[in-house]
Symmetry: C2
Subunit: 161 residues, 2 copies
Amino acid sequence: MGRENRTRHNREIERKFLVEKEWLPPNLKQFRSLVIEQGYLATESAGRQVRLRKRGSATSLTFKVGRGSHREEREIKLSPKQFAALWPGTAGRRLRKVRYEILWDNVIIEIDKYRGRHKDLVVAEVEFPDTASCRRFQPPWWFGREVTREKRYSNVRLALS
Amino acid sequence: MGRENRTRHNREIERKFLVEKEWLPPNLKQFRSLVIEQGYLATESAGRQVRLRKRGSATSLTFKVGRGSHREEREIKLSPKQFAALWPGTAGRRLRKVRYEILWDNVIIEIDKYRGRHKDLVVAEVEFPDTASCRRFQPPWWFGREVTREKRYSNVRLALS
């Protein structure tokens, strides 16, 4: 695909948990973090969506379709100009969050602290290389309720709500 | 916006007519023509859609939202690699047509001959600079029924049907 573009056809095996703010690691700010801003140009049922994302200064467009094990994801990098031309189309369908990445027990935990109207929400996401390690995963004590299958905590729902 | 991107916020004032194949101008092949292939990554009601298009060798992504006089359109050029990465996401939601451009009475008539499963369909589209010239327009004798407001002849419907 070359450096410019990335296509992933793999299943995303991940689990998602709520986190209470007061239980967040006190040294959270020492970890790698970046601001993520994303918006949706169009979404359909069956998880079909076109998302614009600014991750730090990197801008991209991602197409997703399907759910669960039939998820397909295609992503291209956008130039700042391409991004700027499309971004206004996501007005009213956006979200902002700060993402912290923590290495824990050989997996990367992504802590997303939402901003704006969802600013009380903190979500931890863990992605696994296979289903075995997914099942084996022992959440740290400060994780709250698991919301892996709860659609209302999907980014697309949060952006549209 | 620079050469790379184009954003149009204008109303598209256009009329659309069916054309019987046997009534097409016999010298049609002398006019400028190109093959257009397009597919839809995602579509919503209210005309919200993300379209990929290959027009000759030029590749682009277009976001549209709204209907009628509230139509908004944002288009970016895509590199061949960007296009190739996203195009598979339009499988089953595509159409192909050959477009001929004819100058008639100071307007450009675009004749679209569809291919594939809609290969019996020929549509003529005329775009106008203002509503006055739109109303004044006298269709040539070989135009068939006007279908300007018939959704089933929209490209997105044809691609999804």
